[in-house]
């Protein structure tokens, strides 16, 4: 049956009206023909959403507001710490997006007027929108660790959980550490950006130390009892860095064994937990996290500190016409990863285009894949396919999962290379 025939059938059945209201949105464009989208944050979620709206519908005017001239990817940044990558290799600009007709504005958003549909920036400009997409990443709960704050993080005890100057600082600290010194990594409670990230970081720092400072140690103080890809990481640490033996380079302390950190003495380079104090030569604190600052200012968050959304459109369930994607959103069962942000950006872009045009919102599909490199030639991954059913995002049963536990050198080497190709393709998909 052709579309037209089906429509007249629906009409004669008297079901047309119900079907239409359930499936379509009235276009909200101000002044009739204009369709304006403002995207806040040019990271993994925001940049791809801006680009894909333009790919799907050239009649939509897209403005992307990003605080920094260049973006440094977090993925790959652990390999900067080990010297396997340069800072330049994880640096991206916005010329590609301009090429797609995205209006790129380098400025910081300080407020969103949700009822007036207007975004305000630090330089005093304001931008009207029909729909706004917010992808500001995470911010940190500094208050959870006494003595820790942003100025300490920028100068002495990094988080390096947003790639950039802190990544380079942490690398330099590790490389100039005294022989036989101790690197301490404090790992955060759930939920946080990139669940396997702290443990890949541990492996990459160990890789550097093994070759340059072999008597040095890494102490991982974890808030949790277990972590992502636990079996694969601990087996990898064992294989490459002696984990679990007397001569292990890595020691991991779980939360209940004293891993929870309560305060830091910056001058004394000491972390204090419920039970013990730990002194380090280099300390990296990855604090507990919440949605990006602007999401709190705008009132897009709930008590959890993250932003509730509707999984088919990523529209905020608090403020209409504002969509939240990426790490800031409550997107579970999708993880807080760059790949998930990429998938969410595209689902949101398709929904926004449909809503602006008064079309039916397309059925979404989502994927996540995360690679981690334990040592050169040893890559592992986790993957999952998700669908939308019964009003929420679901893992597709039987799909996804981890690299098999049994070590297979050929497969591990290929996984590392696939991880590098993933890096090339996702960055090109986002910024190219």
């Amino acid at each position: 049956m052709s579309k037209q025939n089906r429509r007249s059938f629906l009409k004669t059945l008297g079901l047309g009206a119900t079907a239409a209201t359930a499936a379509t949105y009235a276009p909200f464009a101000i002044g009739g023909s204009s369709k304006k989208v403002v995207v806040i944050g040019g990271g993994m979620g925001g940049a791809v959403a801006a680009k894909y709206i333009r790919m799907m519908d050239k009649s939509v005017e897209v403005t992307l507001i990003e605080a920094n001239e260049n973006y440094f990817t977090c993925f790959g940044s652990n390999e900067v710490l080990s010297g396997e990558r340069t800072m330049d290799s994880i640096k991206f600009g916005y010329d590609g997006l301009k090429g797609h007709g995205v209006n790129v504005v380098i400025d910081k958003v300080i407020d969103i007027d949700a009822s007036g549909r207007r975004v305000k920036t630090a330089s005093g400009r304001s931008f009207n929108y029909d729909r706004c997409i917010v992808s500001p990443g995470v911010s940190f709960r500094y208050d959870k660790i006494d003595g820790y704050d942003e100025s300490v993080a920028n100068t002495k005890i990094t988080h390096a959980w947003k790639a950039g100057p802190q990544t380079a600082l942490l690398r330099d600290q590790i490389q100039s550490m005294r022989k036989g010194g101790t690197v301490i990594i404090s790992a955060p409670p759930n939920p946080f950006r990139c669940p396997p990230g702290p443990y890949e970081r541990t492996a990459q720092i160990a890789h550097y130390l093994k070759h340059n400072n072999p008597t040095a140690k890494i102490l991982v103080l974890d808030d949790k009892e277990k972590f992502s890809k636990f079996g694969l990481f601990t087996a990898g640490w064992k294989k490459h860095y002696g984990y679990g033996t007397d001569n292990s380079m890595i020691e991991w302390v779980k939360g209940s064994a004293g891993g929870k950190i309560e305060s830091v003495d910056v001058a004394g380079m000491t972390l204090s937990g419920e039970v013990d104090d730990y002194k380090g030569d280099v300390i990296n604190i990855i604090p507990a996290q919440k949605a990006g600052h602007i999401a709190h200012v705008t009132g897009l968050t709930n008590d959890s500190g993250w932003c509730p959304i509707e999984g088919k459109t990523f529209e905020s369930t608090i403020h209409k016409n504002i969509h939240v994607i990426g790490d800031s959103a409550i997107q579970s069962p999708l993880p807080k990863s760059g790949y998930a942000a990429n998938s969410e950006g595209k689902v949101c872009a398709a929904a926004v285009v449909a809503m602006l045009n008064g079309d039916k919102i397309p059925d979404p599909s989502y994927v996540n894949t995360c690679y981690s490199v334990i040592a050169p030639g040893d890559g592992i991954s986790v993957a999952m396919v998700y669908n939308y059913a019964n009003g929420k995002i679901n893992k597709v049963k039987g799909s996804g999962g981890l690299t098999p536990g049994k070590f297979d050198a050929k497969a591990r080497a290929r996984e590392q290379q696939n991880g590098y190709s993933w890096f090339d393709n996702i960055t090109n998909d986002t910024f190219g």
Binding site: K346, A350, S365, Q417, N425, G432
Partner: protein
Amino acid sequence: MMKDTIIKSTLLVATLALGSYAQAAPSGQALGYTCAGCHGTNGASTGNAIPSIAGLSETYMVETMNAYKSGDKASTIMGRIAKGYSEEDIENMAGFFAEQEVHKNTNQSFDAAKANAGQALHEKYCDKCHTEGGTVADDDAGQLSGNAKLFMQYSLADFHDGSRDMEKKMAKKMKRMMKKDSDAFDKLVNYYTSGQ
């Protein structure tokens, strides 16, 4: 006859409209967009280990995805991912990629002398099924010319050591080729990487 059809359609439409149609059906585009993180925008890969899938024949892609799904074709990760899609999803995404233009990654390094030798080997042993470097969709065969270099090395190695099945005629030709020239893989990969 006519009446019967109308009644059936009416029932179908009524079911659709009443929302008992629970199973979502993402379009080929919606599905294809999610592959881009690894395979590049619209399936055009810029990496050297993950292949381009833009412009692949629909038949070939459906076959390949089903082989990953069933485990008939070994993989590091595609088996885990392919299991997330229904028959219909796979057909839809294959339709989307079949509509994209074939992509050749011309940023990969290759050895010109080996590429020349590879060209002769290709014409002799491979060209019959992979015409024009495997870029002709009608062949229902994989893309070779300009595809990801490491991926092609992996594939040839897997065919050779038996971890990946191949058609009889291909096995026969490969055996004959390797007997004559044990460096044939290296030459072929350099030829394909050159994107000629």
